[in-house]
Subunit: 177 residues, 2 copies
Amino acid sequence: MGERRAPDPERRLVNESSDHRHDAPNLEHFRERLQEHMAKKGLRSTDQRRLIVETFFAAPNHVSIEELLAQVREQDPKVGYATVYRTLKLLAECGVAFERKFGDGLTRYELADDEAHHDHLICVQCSSITEFEEPRIETLQEEIAHRYGFELRSHKHEMYGVCPDCLKAAAATGKRN
Amino acid sequence: MGERRAPDPERRLVNESSDHRHDAPNLEHFRERLQEHMAKKGLRSTDQRRLIVETFFAAPNHVSIEELLAQVREQDPKVGYATVYRTLKLLAECGVAFERKFGDGLTRYELADDEAHHDHLICVQCSSITEFEEPRIETLQEEIAHRYGFELRSHKHEMYGVCPDCLKAAAATGKRN
DNA sequence: CTCATTGCAAAATCTTTGCACGTAA
DNA sequence: TTACGTGCAAAGATTTTGCAATGAG
């Protein structure tokens, strides 16, 4: 039988090539936004939620639920996935996190971090994710949206290719591919 | 497990706003490419495959498996989804179709149509999909890939917003949102 | 005849949900 | 006290696969 969806450990090996959090991500700001949202909706602050949220804040960008759950369970092994799913949905709802679905069937989450309009370069061989920013593309996007009468809300710009490391490796092996 | 009929009809309501096929998509070229691929792999030409492939060629762009299956079953009600999945995977393998995953959990397929490097504007309210082309963005993409030492293979550029029709509707209703 | 292909149902995978119990406020 | 939250397991939703039967070459 062929590969099933996640028997392949390589798939979650996401080498965050540019993993910095944009000099001082304003976590306090996000904590406030979350608290506000929870207050408004009458939601409660629990040990699990706090743990999951802080783990998310500390995690590398583009964490998958699985990765996050693993991290969370190091602190408290009894946390279930449902709670992680629900908490991240909550973060997404109040604009603290973005849901990202790259083509591999996993949902990843990233800090909303409005300031940084970055997009992604994804290596088709090693799955590493590199962020980039390009204001000129942002400008063109607005121009295009306007051209079609759209009111722009968000965008997703992903470029797939072979990263420098994999190119080097391929060259060393003898240029297959 | 078992039957999974769509519970949410809205999700598959994809109004193709710009549904043209870029003046004369060279179907003959794609048929040849497919035949070649099949010959090389010793694959066989069956009624179902031919039906599915031709239905795909005739379908609006960005068809989901379900939509395609429905179309196919109008001709031959006995075709199963597995066959459609397998056939579209085949088309993707030999470069005749692209797999597209917009964020709604459905996989859609589109004619490869190399010539037209179009991207997508997606309405967050009615899910309509509009294609656009912008050579200046293509150029910038190459520039960025080069900047990071990537060898670019493909890209995905999706802009999410509210389409003119929904904006009009919203304005008429009284500017919610 | 041989082996790829099909249709069906079951499995696999990721995500959501129902429910009884726990717990923040 | 009173809903909301949690964990678990079961259900959902989409895609893939095993298998016996079918059919192309």
